[in-house]
């Protein structure tokens, strides 16, 4: 009996309580919104419930794995992921103009998803190994670790996933000590570039202009974003309809299951990438802001776990995973509200899809693990 109690306590304390509460709130919210979004194709709701259970199982498993073990796994997992990406490059399956899938005979997998965790894991491992001496040249190898999978994913092409992998890896390097002298100019250049694009949109979007670094379809997306009415039946349609859905939600929303845009089929991909439009239409501005706050709490809790982690590895990994949630949310909601181009990035815990949920579950599990294995508060006292 006592043993059973102890086991119960061990299982419960595997979880970081504040994080657990936030995740349970998201699970409830995710299922509630999904129920409205699916209309009466109920099987999607049932599948999504099952996906949540799988993600929870993954979370729990990861939470029980000590960070030291995670560190051991980092290089093999990373190498395996890159090898699979190379496999996609040479033997991948093409669908809708992009080669993202690898057929292993047993199942079709999308290796790029794995890299979302593997890249920060590997980078954190590297910085931990070279903890004492972080010099300029020690940033070239991390850059390589980051850019190889990034390049392979961009080539598929899968801009959304590439963005997330890059973001997750970038934040490890940033937390690892990337100089602000380098960071600030790049940010300024980025802002100037975006400004130029918006200002000279008409000239740059002429069909003959070649953008060199971007595919035609990516250029098309950017141009449609700047001027959705240029393609009202094609890509612009998504953005226009989702903006109408969000905007017509108003301050308080139309009420649960009352969204006309949702239920009259106007919102494209309404169970996946555009599910925020469903939510914002039915729950309004307050509801949307509440969700943003909930995501902020998730991120802040993650960063606080990171700040209290005893090792550099734990800090960097937890920090970058927390920031990854922010990137997910920012890119997805930015896309739904028409400020960012349409790239395939799901909204964490909301969008339909088992793979994405599994990734979230693993990420949260790692956060839990780092939180749990805080160890003696080393250095805290000094």
């Amino acid at each position: 009996m006592k043993k059973l109690m102890q086991l119960g306590i061990r299982v419960l304390t595997a979880f970081d309580l504040p994080l657990l509460v936030i995740l349970l709130l998201f699970t409830a919210l995710g299922l509630i919104v999904m129920h409205s979004a699916v209309g009466n194709t109920d099987w999607r709701f049932a599948e999504q419930s099952r996906n949540f259970l799988i993600a929870l199982a993954a979370l729990w498993t990861l939470a029980l794995v000590p960070p030291k073990m995670l560190m051991k796994f980092a290089p093999p997992v990373y190498v395996f992921g890159v090898v699979l990406l190379l496999g996609v490059e040479f033997f991948g399956q093409t669908s809708k103009g992009a080669t993202r899938w690898l057929d292993l005979g047993v199942a079709r997998i999308q290796p790029s998803e794995m890299l979302k965790i593997a890249v920060p894991l590997m980078l954190a491992w590297y910085f931990q190994r070279n903890e004492g001496a972080v010099r300029a040249r020690d940033f070239f190898i991390p850059a390589l670790i980051l850019l190889v999978p990034f390049y392979l994913i961009v080539r598929q092409p899968d801009l959304g996933t590439a963005l997330l992998v890059f973001g997750a890896g970038f934040f490890v390097i940033y937390f690892g000590g990337l100089s602000f002298k380098l960071l600030v100019p790049v940010m300024v250049a980025g802002i100037v570039g975006l400004g130029t694009l918006v200002y000279y949109e008409d000239a740059l979007c002429e069909p003959d202009v070649d953008w060199v670094v971007l595919h035609d379809y990516q250029k098309h997306r950017v141009c449609t974003l700047l001027n959705p009415s240029s393609d009202p039946l094609g890509r612009g349609f998504h953005t226009i309809q989702s903006m109408i859905a969000v905007g017509s939600g108003g301050t308080y929303g139309k009420g649960y299951m009352q969204g006309t845009q949702t239920h009259l089929d106007f919102i494209p991909e309404r169970t996946t990438d555009f599910i925020f439009a469903v939510y914002a239409e039915e729950f309004g501005f307050y509801g949307a802001v509440m969700m943003l706050i909930l995501y902020s709490l998730l991120m802040l809790r993650g960063l606080s776990i990171a700040a209290r982690a005893p090792t550099q590895f734990g800090r960097l990994l937890a920090g970058s995973l927390s920031m990854m949630f922010f990137i997910y949310v920012f890119v997805n909601i930015g896309m739904v509200t028409g400020v960012l181009p349409v790239v395939g990035v799901p909204l964490p815990f909301m969008s339909y899809g088992g793979t994405a949920l599994l990734t979230m579950g693993i990420a949260c599990g790692i956060l839990m693990s780092i939180s749990r294995h805080r160890g003696p508060a080393a250095g805290e006292a000094t």
Partner: protein, 636 residues
């Protein structure tokens, strides 16, 4: 600049600073999003609300009418007819049983329709449309339209349905349309034209329907309509009319096409007729054919199986997919090569004892006939294999390859149909690339011998043979074969634009070409095809061919005794009139036996139809009657 002190405490503090900065950055971004949401949901609420809530704006794509396909004289091969469909949005239609009761008083709904509809409603969202009945005629449609106000959630939709009035005639040219499938969507998305296909259900799958899809489809219009609370359109806010697809006028002459198809009877084979001066394809036969109408609404399993599993392979486009050794029809080109390359003069005589010996091996004439002393003219007229065997080592396979390539042998012609195969124009290079094993890669001199009589590794499409024949008829001026004569905008006063292709001159000496043409003319007068071309009022020119399907290794060929599928292919190539050709033809009758008896008569029918057509103001017509009377062969 990256260097840091290594104490744990400092590292921790540095991380904290960076974490705070990162969090601040993220929070600022998220506040930016909140600002955007405020802008959309509070500031611009009125506008968006108006667009979504009070009057739901729905953008209804209007599919354009697909262009028609016609022959060169305007006879229609593919057209559209209008049909109406009743569609229901169950969520807006009230009780379904009640709906049926009321609806039955206005239009007929069969129990089968009702069952199918019920099943569909159970499967999909209540807000998705489900088809209640297909194929309402004009009267029914008008009757329902008058009572539409009684049926909220029920829509009458007009759509165009494709129809091929000529059935199986020229089906391999016209092709067919079918439902847009997953891979079509991928292709459209990649091309960036998926938006133009909203509201369109079908797309070209084969033939001209596929290759000219861009022109035939047209531009989708749109209707921006206000929809009331039950989803019925109230008024149109903005309308962009669809632009109908352009009509495509083929170069095919349907009458000629019918004559050609009928000439094959139930034999399998392929025929291509080309107008040498333009490269336009006048007839394009692949027998047996199929009825493209089967594919329009999705083909049923039984018909599909019947077509797919038939040993005659009716779905294969023989003229451009079937590759054959073309046998003796290759000889005029080989002879021309010998003259042009200066390997043998036209008058030089070669003894023909009925066989040619090379490397201790005997290559025999067909039927082992001995022709005695043979010059080039005689060799073509009687079709002496020995003469051409003896040419082979003199020319050499690579020189032959280089000479034949500009004529298009073994090359894709680029005709505007899909699924073309290149075939094989052999050379030592080709063999090295085609085989892996070292001893297989080597070219043996003996192999050149069979290549020179159109056998061996030669493997060409009938289209290539027709194109080469046309080029020869045109004295070496090559024009790529094509099937579309003109494209016409669909509007009433739409402009018609001709399709023209650039010519490319193969440098040939006219005297050499004339030698070959003269010999080919005598083939139909006194040579192998004389019987098929007896008493023509025009002078034709041609060459028969018989291609081995199955090597008998010295045993005597007896057509009656061997399996029909192993019998030789019968071929013919030629043009007419010989001095100023207006038509060039190449054809094959699969397992037909001798070219002279099985293939040449079909070519005769084509030439007769094209040159002696009664509605042609052509001087050939009276001549023919006169010729017929003088030989006593007038109709009884």
């Amino acid at each position: 600049m990256f260097e840091f002190k290594k104490t744990g405490k400092q590292q921790r503090q540095r991380f904290r600073l960076r974490a705070v900065l990162g969090a601040l950055f993220a929070l600022v971004c998220l506040m930016g999003l909140a600002g955007r949401l405020w802008y959309l949901q509070v500031d611009r609420y009125e506008g968006f609300s108006e667009r979504a809530d009070r009057n739901r704006i729905s953008i209804v794509p209007i599919a354009p009418r697909r262009g028609q396909i016609m022959d060169r004289n305007g006879e229609v091969l593919a057209r559209n007819y209008r049909t109406y469909t009743l569609e229901v949005v169950p969520a807006q239609a009230g009780k379904i049983d009640d709906l049926f009761d009321r609806l039955r008083q206005v239009v007929y709904v069969s129990p089968a329709d009702q069952r199918r509809f019920q099943r569909r409603v159970n499967e999909q969202s209540r807000y998705a449309t489900a088809v209640l009945r297909n194929n309402l005629n004009e009267t029914e449609a008008a009757w329902f339209a008058a009572h539409a106000f009684m049926f909220p959630g029920v829509d009458l939709r007009a759509r165009w349905v494709r129809e091929y009035p000529q059935g199986a005639t020229a089906a391999h040219v016209v092709g067919y349309i079918g439902r847009i499938a997953e891979n079509d969507i991928d292709a459209l998305e990649a091309a960036g034209t998926l938006g133009n296909y909203r509201g369109t259900e079908v797309i070209g799958k084969k033939g001209i329907e596929k290759t000219w899809e861009n022109r035939l489809h047209g531009k989708t219009g749109l209707d921006e309509v206000e929809v009331n609370a039950v989803g019925r359109p109230i008024r149109s806010l903005r309308r962009i009319d669809p632009v109908p697809g352009e009509d495509v006028k083929l170069s095919i002459d349907l009458t000629l096409q019918r004559v050609a198809e009928a000439a094959f009877g139930d034999q399998r084979g392929a025929l291509v007729a080309i107008e040498p001066s333009t490269g336009e394809v006048l007839a394009f036969v692949s027998q047996p054919s199929f009825d493209p109408n089967l594919f329009v609404d999705g083909i049923d399993v039984e018909s599909w199986r019947a077509l797919n599993e038939s040993p005659d392979h009716p779905l294969i486009n023989r003229p451009l997919y079937g590759t054959y050794p073309i046998g003796s029809t290759y000889k005029p080109f080989v002879a021309l090569a010998a003259l042009e390359l200066g390997k043998r003069s036209a008058t030089q005589r070669v003894p023909d004892p009925g066989y040619y010996e090379f490397g201790g091996q005997r290559f025999r004439n067909a039927g082992s006939v001995a022709y005695g002393l043979t010059d080039m003219h005689k060799a073509l007229v009687v079709s002496s294999d020995t003469y051409f065997y003896s040419l082979a080592p003199e020319i050499g396979v690579n020189a032959l390859h280089d000479f034949m390539k500009p004529f298009g042998f073994g090359q894709l012609t680029g005709i505007d149909l899909d699924g073309e195969r290149a075939g094989i124009l052999p050379s030592t290079d080709w063999k090295r690339r085609a085989y892996r094993e070292r001893d297989q890669q080597r070219w043996y001199a003996g192999e050149t011998i069979s290549v020179a009589v159109g056998q061996g590794y030669n493997s060409f499409t009938l289209l290539q043979l027709a194109q080469a024949t046309s080029t020869l008829a045109n004295n070496g001026l090559y024009r790529a074969p094509h099937l579309v004569h003109a494209v016409k905008e669909a509007s009433e006063d739409g402009r018609e634009r001709d399709v023209q292709v650039e010519g490319r001159q193969i440098p040939l000496k006219q005297a050499n070409v004339d030698v070959i043409k003269k010999a080919m003319a005598d083939v139909v007068v006194s040579g192998t095809a004389r019987r098929a071309f007896a008493n023509t009022p025009y002078q034709a020119a041609g060459k028969t061919g018989t291609a081995q399907v199955y090597s008998l290794r010295g045993a005597r060929y007896n057509a009656e005794k061997i399996d029909e599928r192993l019998r030789d292919h019968a071929l013919f190539m030629g043009f007419a009139p010989a001095d100023n050709p207006t038509i060039a033809v190449a054809l094959i009758v699969e397992n037909g036996g001798w070219g002279a008896s099985a293939a040449a008569p079909i070519a005769r029918k084509i030439f007769d139809e094209w040159l002696l057509r009664s509605d042609r103001s052509d001087p050939a017509v009276p001549v023919r009657q006169a010729a017929a009377e003088s030989t006593g062969q007038a109709q009884p």
